[in-house]
Amino acid sequence: MAKIGVFVCQCGNNIARTVDTADVAKYSSEQDGVVHVEDYKFMCSAPGQEMFKKAIKEKGLDACIVSACSPKMHEATFRNAAEAAGLNPFKVEIANIREHCSWVHDDKAVGTVKSKDLTKMMIERIKFNKPLERYVMPLTKRALVLGGGIAGIQAALDLAQAGVDVHIVEREPSLGGNMARLSETFPTLDCSQCIMTPRMVEVQNHPLITVHAYAELEQLSGFIGNFRARIRQKAKYVIDDLCTGCGECWEKCPFSTESEFEMGLVKRPIIYIPFPQAVPTVPVIDNTECPKILKDKCGLCADVCGPDCIDFTQQDEIKEIDFGAIIVATGFQLMPNVYREYGGWRPPHMTPKKLTAKQRKALPRSDAGRLVDVINGLEFERLASASGPTGGQIRRPSDGKIPETVVFIACVGSRDCNKGVEYCSKICCMYTAKHTMLYQHAVHHGKSYVFYMDIRAGGKGYEEFINRAQDEGAQYVRGRVSRLTKKGDKILVKGADTLTGQAVDVEADMVVLATAMVPQGDAEQVAQTLGIGYDKHGFFSEQHPKLMPVESSTGGIYLAGACQGVKDIPETVSQASATAAKVLALFSKDEMERDPEIAIVDQEKCMNCWDCVTVCPYLAINRVELKDRNGNFRKWAAEVNPGLCQGCGICNTACRSKSIELMGYTNEQVYAQITAFGGDII
């Protein structure tokens, strides 16, 4: 026989004004199975909770209804109180008689009848509540960080410092990402490499961090706490442990190709490290260009290598490693193909080195017509960088001359529904201002113009930074640029100044486009490999835009940095630390506790139609073979993976025989609520 306690809350005047709570309590006491009722002013208060716990202990209640405010407010409160009093928390239900009754019906008679009905529905339902126990699952306390840029580095360091074993998988030969390309960072004009390289070295030296450079994640299986990653370590043709980073090989290599790190502005050898401060300082051989690997010619690097660590027969290696959590920090790229009318069209530096004839035909202009001096932000950073192709001197890519007049164009591709992306890329106003200052510092007599639509400078010290750029000589012109054309060896920029209402023409030596910040080209594939959501632009989707900005829709996978959305470096670092905090919370216990309101299969009833397997959005249902005690096959059945099930119940609806049931919302419970309903309405 059920022993149900019903606690009706007056919530001060909030419920008591339009509901006769004493009447509701009396009505409840007359229901089958109810042995205790209370009618109290503030159930959620400390004395209210005490009364609740006392009643459970003294009367030996095995289920409780609290008729009060919305379950979103206090279901957790009362469930915790019940647990403290020794009652299974899932035997506590809330009847919402405040938000759904007392606050919306201004008639005491009507409100009382409805509250009685709502309470009765819950009383009948709770008779079928099962005392669910939270699931305990094993946990691998090792984290995978996908991407070795500043986000990945920050997250890895935070985790390693807390004692967690971390692996970083980075597809380039070195850590650093896009931040390593920067010359100086806003708003302090810190040298980017100077603040970053100590971190990179710390990562390399930390005993708990393993760096897999020049490697990619090929496949991911499993679920939160129990992932298995298949990582492809691409062949470097160099033996890591023996290499001393002396540099003889890359200095002597007689061949070269476009440098990806330098944005194609300069060439690099075929055996190379991307930049001098690369971590790890182990070169890789580009096997799409190396004549020794392709045609068995040359091999000079092996001849000059002191420690004899070059191995042309090396193959890709597959590593399968278990992880408990994954932090995705794959970063961004700048919008690769910019408008034809801007003239600065350039194939993205990630395209194959050799374009096919068809691809070449698809280029909007021949090389001769391309305006080589129209560059994007990262290319400008390389020109300005002291370790860049020009040693920090701002020079035109076409003829190496120092530009006297530079035009910076903002919002190229951003805020553009027609030809670009409709969002604002957030960082461009700031880095454009920074570029004008870098230019002015390098070329004191130079003239810089910025064509802008709006200035967005919402961070700490950001507005002051923009003002400083203008003080240092940058001319801000509010208007857009319609066309760039060649005029002699200069570029004619045709724009407008909307504040004066006049057309503005500038003959520039160089034009820098603040192109949109977009996700990496293979973001969609990465998302599909990981099984996380992504939006129409390719940014990975967070679980909730305000309250859960670092969790992805898949449990155990967290998002850090620009792969989740446009952001600057301070925000990236904050988000990376946030993901580390989430992973630490996950790893704080030795086992994982999972919410038990998930689906369970009665495997004897299951007739293996697999409708549930098809509809589950989380692929949480597996097909299993049931065997008899001799090991012979008996039947197929479905089985729910408690680690993945999120408790939506779509499977329960799809199952025709109702062999799969969602705990907490079983058919019996809902059926009881439906049959309890039906008293008078008014």
């Binding site: 299951c606 293996n608 025989s657 062999s659 019996e668 009881a672």
Partner: protein, 297 residues
């Protein structure tokens, strides 16, 4: 035609490729045929095929009859078009494996609806309503077919075969409800319609469930309605239109009117005909982002 089938069946049994051939044989009176299970090659001459063979044989492949299939590794079955639709649907729903079944397809021009109407030949006076407009007179999925199998265009949308469906849709709502009320007065929950359906294969039927008792087993009005509505919902997108449920009903209730109307709805809303593809998933377990929602506020 039947000779070729018999020869193939004999060959399959002699070579040991199949354990049993399920087909039709002469029935207890000249107007009927009966399902037959041939185990030995010398018995294949019992197999016949003519317009009296309205029984749907895939029922014997259905899992609930597994006890009769124990020990059968591979089964050959004589299938006319509508039966093969049922087999294909069973395979698509994972109740059968394609390589467990050897389908001996037969060309069919129609079946006689009742033994009482058999007068030696098939004609418009005795043709079953499900055979009108049939697009699988040459069956679509077979392992053996006597003679050449012509190509048939089966892309035509499903059309309801019983005129009663359209008539009922013309009636006003309360009259429609009244019709069903009086029709279902005769139903006494024998569940023959469930037993004979080739797609009904739950180990524990929802009607036999007691916690909760979804569908009252009693034959009062509520129990009858909830049973038939549930049966219709469970067959949405799965019913292949064999018509056996109506044929089996001892009270002559046209229970498959619900199924025909639902097939029409599924055709209109999702352009889907069950039983034609081995891989298709029925519409209730799939979705399109732009599904119709004209009724949603």
């Amino acid at each position: 035609m039947i000779e070729q089938i018999r020869n193939q069946a004999r060959k399959l049994l002699e070579d040991g490729d199949v354990d049993v051939v399920i087909g039709y044989a002469e029935g207890s009176d000249p107007a009927r045929t009966t399902p037959v299970f041939i185990r030995k090659a010398e018995d294949v001459d019992k197999l016949i095929y003519d317009p009296r063979c309205i029984n749907s044989l895939p029922l014997y492949l259905n899992k609930r009859h597994e006890y009769t299939r124990k020990g059968w590794k591979k089964t050959a079955i004589i299938g006319k078009g509508c039966d093969i639709r049922a087999i294909v649907q069973l395979i698509a729903e994972n109740q059968l494996k394609r390589d467990e079944i050897y389908i001996l397809g037969v060309p069919c021009e129609g079946q006689v609806s009742h033994p009482e109407k058999w007068d030696g030949s098939l004609h418009d006076g005795n043709r079953a309503s499900k055979c009108i407009g049939c697009d699988v007179m040459t069956p679509h999925e077979t392992d053996f077919f006597p003679g050449d199998k012509p190509d048939v265009d089966r892309s035509n949308p499903y059309e309801v075969t019983s005129p009663k469906v359209a008539n009922l849709m013309e009636l006003e709502l309360d009259k429609r409800f009244a019709f069903w009320r009086t029709d279902f007065d005769r139903c006494f929950k024998c569940y023959a319609c469930r037993e004979v359906c080739p797609h009904c294969s739950c180990n524990v039927c929802i009607t036999d469930e007691t916690t909760p008792s979804w569908i009252d087993p009693a034959a009062h009005k509520k129990g009858v309605f909830s049973w038939h509505l549930t049966r219709a919902m469970h067959l949405v997108g799965r019913c292949t239109g064999c018509g056996e449920c109506t044929r089996a009903c001892p009270m002559d209730i046209q229970v498959d009117l619900f199924n025909q109307r639902m097939k029409e709805v599924v055709q209109e809303s999702y352009s889907y005909k069950p039983g034609y593809s081995l891989e298709d998933k029925h519409p209730l377990i799939t979705y399109q982002v732009d599904d119709r929602e004209d009724f949603i506020k």
